[in-house]
Subunit: 285 residues, 2 copies
C-alpha cells in the first residue's frame, strides 16, 4: 500500500481507487472477516472489509438512499421489510424514515460491522433504537429459510460482491426462497455492481435469474457510488406479480424526510438506462 493512501486494487477489473489518509484507527478480525477503519483526509471515516472499501462518511448517502427509497416507493404499502447484510445500518436508517413501515429486520452475519459502524458512523446508526427495528447477527440465508411464506413486503439484499459467502445471494435458488417469503406485490432489491464493468457478467444474468425464480418484472437503477469500482453502481429490483413501471410518485414527492440524492424525479431518471446497458439486459432476458 502506497504511503499515506488507502488504495483498493480491483485486480480482476484492472482498476484501483484510493483515498488519502494514512491513519488506520482500528482493525478487528471478526470470526468472518477483517474489518479496518481509516480516518481519511477528505472522505471522513472509511471502512474496509477484507481490504475492500465498503463505506465512507462522505458519500455513503448515494448508495443507502438508492438501495432503499426506490424499492419502498415502488411498493404500494410496505409494512414488513428485511435487509440481508447492511450491517453498517445505513440502509436500515433510510428504511426507518418511511412512516408506513411497521417492522424492519436487519440480518448481518457479522456483529462487529455494526459495532464499528456505531463507533465511526454514528449518523448511520441513529435510528437503531427505533422500536420498529430488529438487528440480528445470524446467517441471512438461514433466516430467510425460517420465515413464514408471504411474510414480507420488501426484501433488500445489501450484500458484498458476489464472491465468497455472498455468492449464494445472486442465485436462482436464493431468489426462489425470497419469492416464497414475499407477499403478492412484494419487491426484492439487490445491489448489482457496476453498469460499465458488470453489465453483461452480473446485471443481465441477475434479471434472468429473478425471472427464472418467478418474479414478473425486473428493473435496474443506476447511480454514482464513488468508492466502488468504476464509481458507477446499480441496484436491480424484481416484483412478485405486476409491473415495476409505476411507483408511488406523489408519496415520494411529498415525503416527510430529507434526502440528498434521492427524489421522485431522480427515481424516474435512475430507471432510464443507457443504450449499451439496455442492450446487454435485453440480450439475455
Amino acid at each position: 500500500m502506497t504511503k499515506d493512501w488507502v488504495i483498493e486494487y480491483f485486480e480482476s477489473e484492472g482498476t484501483c481507487f484510493g483515498l488519502k489518509g494514512s491513519e488506520r484507527v482500528e482493525s478487528v478480525q471478526s470470526p468472518y472477516q477483517k474489518i479496518d477503519i481509516y480516518n481519511t483526509e477528505t472522505f471522513g471515516y472509511l471502512m474496509l472489509i477484507d481490504g475492500c472499501t465498503m463505506v465512507s462518511s462522505r458519500e455513503n448517502f448515494l448508495y443507502h438512499e438508492m438501495m432503499s427509497h426506490p424499492a419502498l416507493f415502488s411498493h404500494n404499502d410496505p409494512k414488513r421489510v428485511a435487509i440481508i447484510g447492511g450491517g453498517d445500518c445505513g440502509t436500515l436508517r433510510e428504511v426507518l424514515a418511511h412512516e408506513c413501515v411497521e417492522q424492519v429486520t436487519q440480518i448481518d452475519i457479522d456483529e462487529q460491522v455494526t459495532r464499528l459502524s456505531e463507533k465511526y458512523f454514528p449518523e448511520l446508526c441513529e435510528r437503531n433504537d427505533d422500536p420498529r427495528a430488529q438487528l440480528l447477527f445470524i446467517d441471512g440465508l438461514k433466516w430467510i429459510d425460517d420465515q413464514p411464506g408471504e411474510s414480507l413486503e420488501v426484501l433488500i439484499v445489501d450484500s458484498t460482491d458476489p464472491v465468497g459467502f455472498a455468492e449464494g445471494l445472486f442465485t436462482v435458488d436464493f431468489f426462489k426462497q425470497c419469492f416464497a417469503k414475499l407477499a403478492p406485490g412484494g419487491i426484492i432489491v439487490q445491489q448489482s455492481e457496476s453498469p460499465l464493468l458488470h453489465g453483461q457478467s452480473i446485471i443481465a444474468p441477475l434479471h434472468k435469474n429473478f425471472r427464472a425464480a418467478g418474479f414478473s418484472d425486473t428493473q435496474t437503477l443506476h447511480f454514482p457510488q464513488i468508492i466502488y469500482p468504476s464509481g458507477w453502481w446499480s441496484c436491480t429490483m424484481a416484483k412478485k406479480g405486476g409491473a415495476l413501471d409505476q411507483f408511488r410518485q406523489e408519496d415520494a414527492q411529498a415525503k416527510s424526510f430529507a434526502t440528498r440524492y434521492y427524489s421522485a424525479q431522480m427515481h424516474q431518471a435512475a430507471k432510464v438506462l443507457p443504450p449499451f446497458l439496455s442492450q446487454a439486459i435485453d440480450g439475455l432476458s
Copy 2:
C-alpha cells in the same frame, strides 16, 4: 508510481484512480505539456497529460457523447459549431454525426494531442477527414477573439481542469466573448467537473458566471466518467436568449447514428439533479 499500475493522485481532492497496465508505449514532451500513452490491461489505451488521465479507449464514449449531443439537440438548428480544446477528436467525431451541422472547427493549442490520438485512438479520429471539419492548432482564446459576432450556433469548451492555461476558460470575461460570438439562441457547453467534489466550488459558480456574461438560462447534466476524480462528472450548458428546458426530443429519438450512452431519454434523465446539487446551484445563482 506503484509497479504495474498507472495511478493519478488527485492530491487536492484526496482521491486517486488507477488502471492496471505497466507498459508506457509513448511519451512526448510538446511545447505545452507532457503526453504519455499507456497500454492498460482492461481499458485499452490511456492518454495522460502532465500526469492527469485524459482519455481511455473503453469509456471515453460517456464523456464525448455527453459533451456533444445534449448541446446540439438543445439548439434548434446547429449549423456552425466550434470546439475549444478536444484535441483527442472524440467530441468532434460526435458533432460530425449530426447531418445538420455544416462546419465544425476544433481549436486545440497542442497538435501533438491530435497526432497521438490518431495513432492510439483512431476510432475517435475516424471523421477527421470530413470536409465539414477544420482542425486548428492555435490558442482557443485568441481564435474566439478573432471570430465575427454571432457567427456560431454551438460552442463546446472541452477543456482540462480549470487550472493553468485552462483557468481562463471558466471566467466571466471569456463567457462574454463567447456570448458575443454566438448567434441568438446559441448554446455554449463547458465540462464542469464532479458533482460530488466540485458542486460548490465549480458548478455553482459556473452558473453564476454564465448568467453574469448575459446568458438567459443555464443547465447542468451529470453522467459517469470513470477515469476522472470521483468517477462522476458533469457538463453545464448556457443559452443566449430563451430557456433550456426543451430540446429537440423527436430528432434525438429519430437520430441516424448510434450512441452507447446518450439517448433522448438519457438526455432528459441527465438534466435531473440530486437535491444536494440543485441546492448548491440555487444557493449561488
